[in-house]
Symmetry: C2
């Protein structure tokens, strides 16, 4: 069942059928209807491979995700998927591991799959123009941006929150509750990425309240997963760090940290307050409910696609969208014990 069969069926040439199928204007109404009827009748479905080959591009968007199973990304991906479908694009997902380079992965995928564009999630913040040169399709950074790199603002798009400000906001909330000894759990203070940025926000909050940062309250866990967060929190406690509150840079990690606190006999929030950032579903059901800054995942996923499509189809300009987070007051923050 090819375009040829359809053409034969209604006695026109393949090019005419192609025109009809692609909504080209210069086809007479009569012919158009005849062709449409034949398509219906024969249950003809165009072969995308052939289409893609001749156009030398597919209508597919690649999504490169760093951080397998991060539930925060899951909800964004869902939004990306449904928005892409609305615009007639398919999504092809590529999960990469911590060590892998998302630009290389993206470039390879873009070329071998002839993608129209790329959405990067959980990526790095310091791309250089040279690295990006290998990409021959537009891309948008979703949930992060190129803070540390030196890319031109017009060479890519981004949809994200301001990680630094959000982190500051979280820590400010702890301070407003009377905390001064605030520990932080993060991957690394210098990953040139989300972790570093949120660390800066943490420092800024302390500074603006006149609190001296204490490096003994910083626990770097290297890997972004619950297990590392759990173990890191145990280390923090076991080395006798003196803190009344904990800022964890992501909800999933915060849940693991709460478990560690519990395992060491510290009650949340009586003995230790906890706050984080993300707003994943799960964190609504922790006991107590996690106090966190909710990121608008639906909006971000949707806008990532819209932005990309606009760049692809209309040669639209690259944009950098920033979103506000919402403080959800759960039950994990309370004033420190007086003693």
């Amino acid at each position: 069942m090819t375009i040829k069969d359809v053409a034969a069926k209604c006695g026109v040439s393949v090019s005419t059928v192609s025109r009809v199928l692609n909504n080209h204007p210069d086809v007479s109404k009569a012919v158009r209807e005849k062709v449409m009827a034949a398509v219906e009748e024969l249950h003809y479905i165009p072969n995308n491979s052939a289409r893609d080959l001749v156009k030398s591009q597919t209508s597919t968007i690649g999504v490169v995700v760093r951080g397998v199973g991060n539930p925060f990304f899951a909800s964004i991906i869902t939004a990306v998927e449904s928005e892409a479908e609305k615009h007639g694009y398919s999504i092809i997902l590529n999960h990469i591991k911590s060590g892998e380079d998302e630009l290389t992965a993206g470039a390879e995928m873009a070329r071998s799959k002839r993608l129209k564009g790329l959405i990067l999630m959980g990526g790095c913040y310091d791309y250089s123009p040279e690295q990006v040169a290998s990409l021959d399709v537009p891309f948008v950074c979703c949930t992060f941006t190129n803070t540390f790199g030196n890319l031109g603002k017009d060479s890519f798009s981004s949809v994200s929150v301001n990680d630094r400000d959000v982190a500051k906001c979280a820590v400010d909330h702890l301070i407003a509750n009377g905390h001064k000894k605030i520990a932080i759990i993060l991957d690394s203070i210098c990953d040139r990425s989300i972790s570093e940025l949120r660390y800066k926000g943490y420092l800024e909050a302390l500074k603006s309240s006149g609190i001296n940062p204490d490096y003994d309250l910083v626990e770097e866990i290297q890997f972004f997963d619950m297990r590392s967060a759990y173990e890191g929190t145990l280390r923090l406690i076991d080395r006798g760090a003196d803190f009344t509150a904990l800022f964890v840079i992501a909800d999933s990690l915060a849940l693991a940290a709460m478990k560690a606190l519990s395992d060491r006999g510290r009650r949340v929030p009586e003995d230790c307050s906890v706050i984080s950032i993300d707003g994943i579903d799960m964190s609504l059901y922790s006991i107590p409910t996690l106090t966190t800054l909710i990121q608008p995942t639906e909006d971000m996923g949707r806008d990532a696609v819209r932005t990309l499509v606009s760049v692809i189809e209309e040669g639209g300009k690259h944009v950098h969208l920033r979103y506000d987070t919402t403080l959800r007051e759960g039950g994990t923050v309370a004033p420190p014990k007086k003693n």
Copy 2:
């Protein structure tokens, strides 16, 4: 950058390059190495559209998932993705909503995308041969099977646990701990799917221990999400149901149920034991750690792909693989209070 460029670069014909690229045997070692070197140097990446066109099939497997954001599926999908890559297949994901029909979605995707096969997750258990007739590619049911339908065993594959037995096992564990008043939280007792099956296992466990089932202890929540589970548990408690233990059919729902228990002042496990099935990461960090039957998600995802690939490539026979679950004794099950 095409196969032609590579051929020119090393002074051989395109077919030789093609042979090297596709690991055909009859190429001399010297030529093979020369070609490989050129491929490296030119950063040549084959155009899949062209490949797919000439082979008149893509090397893509469709994954239809019912149940957006179910963390249990996330880990299986990860395994599916990496295994597929090993075999040279791409994955195209399609999340469908509760109401949608996965067979229709799969059939449409298979045709327009020229898929080689389909993996179905979170599907229904009672397909009929007529429904399946619309599918022109092999499929494997992942995490479920066609228990209620009347499909021939050789018309599809499945990788799953025996839901009924696993549920019985979970409830047996509660009974072994001395519980007799065991409530259950599930979608529906007659969804012709996982929920119904696990309900049967629950009934069976009660029966084999001589406990009379009490329909007042059954809470149907209709939707498979945390919110519904939370609200369902509240309803169960608020209507005065008398139970000392709770069997929830999935980890994510169990976490929400625990929250509801907590919100009503019931301690786990002192006032109420909780057990479920799945073994998602998150449930390891609940407080207390959820006692659950762990499904081997990695194995299931991997074997779903292997099975499908074997059917596709070698005309292998359809198989039905069953897996054992592992009881993880967390801290949510204890003997009932004596009073």
